[in-house]
Symmetry: C2
DNA sequence: CTTCCATGTGAAAACGTTTCCACCTGTTTG
DNA sequence: CAAACAGGTGGAAACGTTTTCACATGGAAG
């Protein structure tokens, strides 16, 4: 706690016996300087332990060398990995990452963007609740701040690093169908605040229809229900008769297995489960989890690279969606034969929400 | 992409027909102003869509309202959660989080701190490879920047939000011992770059000794070995005869189970496994993982609160270590009786590293 | 010997704030 | 009625940079 006040380039210039401009030129190698002066300045800077003030620089150049990143929460490893990917793509470019998280709150989203904007970030990488409705995001656009999205489908000409959730979910329906499943469920944790979940449901729903399966049951869980196997089991038991469940993320899928065990059901014989995200741990489980593999870190990297291009003034080009991959696993198998062909007989509980109308159609 | 240039307080003042100083006073409610002028200024600011430039403010007040945070990697959920905790504690204080990650590289650690310092962060929250040796960290100290550590044991009077890894590890040894285990192993992924791993080993080792058990086998894994069950199985099979393994994190512990299955061993009958961290998923597994529960988010929150106090000028007080909790689970059981009492007979492979000397003694 | 140019150099403006100070008005006090 | 004071107000300095511009100096070209 010794030296409380900072050493500026003025101090260096004084110590070296030259003008400020010269010191700046030497230290930045941005202009001519005699060997002798160069030497004095460099020595002075070293002796004094000088380093440039990024703030002074930012003010004068109106480039903060900072890029802002907004995600719902770092407690979700998917977003955390994406941010790590951004970090990696940024390393070596001189840009720093200013982070904000909204806790899945649309209001907080707007505040966060406003704050980031006030800090004059040179670019923005964003995942939020409702990008298409966010006034703050619109303002950022008009403001001319380069912008790139993550996880969202591209909107309004804004580039986005994403996977095609709709297509990926169709793939899951296809697998279910091919194995002979008919009655399925879709489990989501934050359906209303996650366009990803909604797109997945839409794709799943569309493909089920296309294959003549009954509409999947949509089950939206609360945080508590998702984390308490007993509660989850209760919910699942109200939906007796389904042979396969598509969980909108891997954690949920694992929770479903636990709940199934509690109910005395065996995965996959009594219930097939497929997750989403492809977290590493799924592979190491007793019964490896069938899931859609995605690469959040690659998403972060792509978002960052796109943003860097944009900041270079390059035209905004939307990259194709990042690939996903269906990972086979022990949690997916054909249904028990006896429950195969009784579609017509039983009354089938309707979807919890009926939002088939406002769903994307592919 | 319309309005590329910014609106400054000057524009507001001109629009309102008053001086800059007055505009500033009105907008900050920091001084007297007539009702009429106040009105004009506020209207002007609204009409123009003015917002303060954090950079201009930072330059003039020499407070950037930014705090820097360095962690090894956000791909590790433990650190990601901690950062999320920091984020939460900071929300509403007006401080933003500037993030850096080092990828477990000590050199990168130093660079990152230097960069953060150049950005004139008002405080620093740090988890790094070797805080006790870092010159950059020392410089930050001398520079007078408020500092708080996470995950590390307190050093040099720097406060740290941490759990007592040594004690927690002793707890594991105690559990093993009470169940009758004697030959144990300690698995670590990044032993050389993680003081946490080292402290855990030290505590585990110390308690094993204290209880008259043979020294635990120390097994340091490469990234590849940890993620490839086959490789891990090979390694484990070279250490035949041990009945219990303490993995330095839960992911490793789960990998060990997978490897054991590959070897035809049954957990916990043939091999007990205890992890560390207490990730949520461990609870949902087929065989719930026995582990030491910690709360990374609480660590982040504590680190942030301590830092805020420090920045208020309060004296630096070291909080007691955060509590840990032994979570019982299906992966821990007494060893098979036949392998109980043959200590003296067999030759026991020595620890991979023999660092018993430089280990913390409690 | 002049003219020109290259090279090295420093003063000063600009970036967007906040704050100190001085200057106005009126109004209250002696 | 003069003096002191309070409330409003704006000019200008400061924060740490970079960059423009102008001024030197010297050597080469005319």
């Amino acid at each position: 706690m010794s030296q409380r006040q900072k050493i500026t380039i003025k101090d260096v210039a004084r110590e070296a016996g030259c003008g400020i401009a010269t010191a700046s030129r030497v230290l930045n190698r941005s202009g001519p300087a005699s060997a002798e002066v160069r030497d004095r300045v460099e020595r002075a800077a070293r002796d004094l332990g000088f380093s440039f003030s990024a703030i002074g620089r930012a003010l004068q150049s109106s480039r903060s060398m900072t890029i802002g990143c907004l995600v719902p929460s770092l407690a979700n490893p998917v977003f955390a990995e994406a941010v790590q990917g951004v970090q990696e793509a940024l390393s070596g470019t001189g840009y720093q990452l200013l982070i904000a998280s909204s806790n899945y709150d649309g209001e907080a989203d707007n505040d966060a963007i406003a704050t980031l904007l006030a800090k004059e970030v040179d670019g923005l990488i964003v995942t939020m609740v409702a990008p298409e409705k966010s006034v703050a995001l619109k303002r950022a656009c008009q403001h001319g701040v380069p912008l790139s999205l993550m996880f969202h489908d591209p909107i309004d000409g804004l580039p986005s690093a994403h996977v095609d959730n709709f297509e990926a979910a169709r793939e899951v329906a296809r697998r279910f169908s091919e194995l002979g499943h008919r009655r399925t469920g879709f489990l989501a944790l934050r359906f209303s605040t996650s366009d990803r979940s909604r797109n997945r449901y839409a794709g799943f729903h569309a493909e089920c229809r296309a294959r003549g399966m009954p509409d999947p049951a949509l089950i939206e869980l609360s945080e508590a229900e998702a984390n308490t196997p007993r509660l989850l089991a209760e919910i699942l038991s109200t939906l007796d008769g389904l042979s396969a469940v598509f969980a909108s993320n891997d954690f949920l899928a694992i929770a479903v297995q636990k709940a199934a065990r509690l109910m005395g059901k065996i995965v996959p014989q009594d219930l097939s489960v497929v997750g989403f995200d492809g977290i590493e741990i799924g592979r190491l489980l007793d019964v490896p989890l069938a899931t859609i593999e995605t690469a959040p870190d690659a998403m972060g990297r792509q978002a960052a690279r796109t943003l860097l291009d944009l900041m270079q003034g390059e035209a905004c080009i939307q990259q194709p969606p990042l690939p996903f991959n269906f990972r086979a696993g022990g949690t997916l198998a054909p249904p028990r034969t006896e429950s195969r062909d009784d579609d017509q007989g039983a009354t089938w509980p309707p979807s919890v929400h009926s939002l088939k109308t406002e769903l994307k159609q592919g």
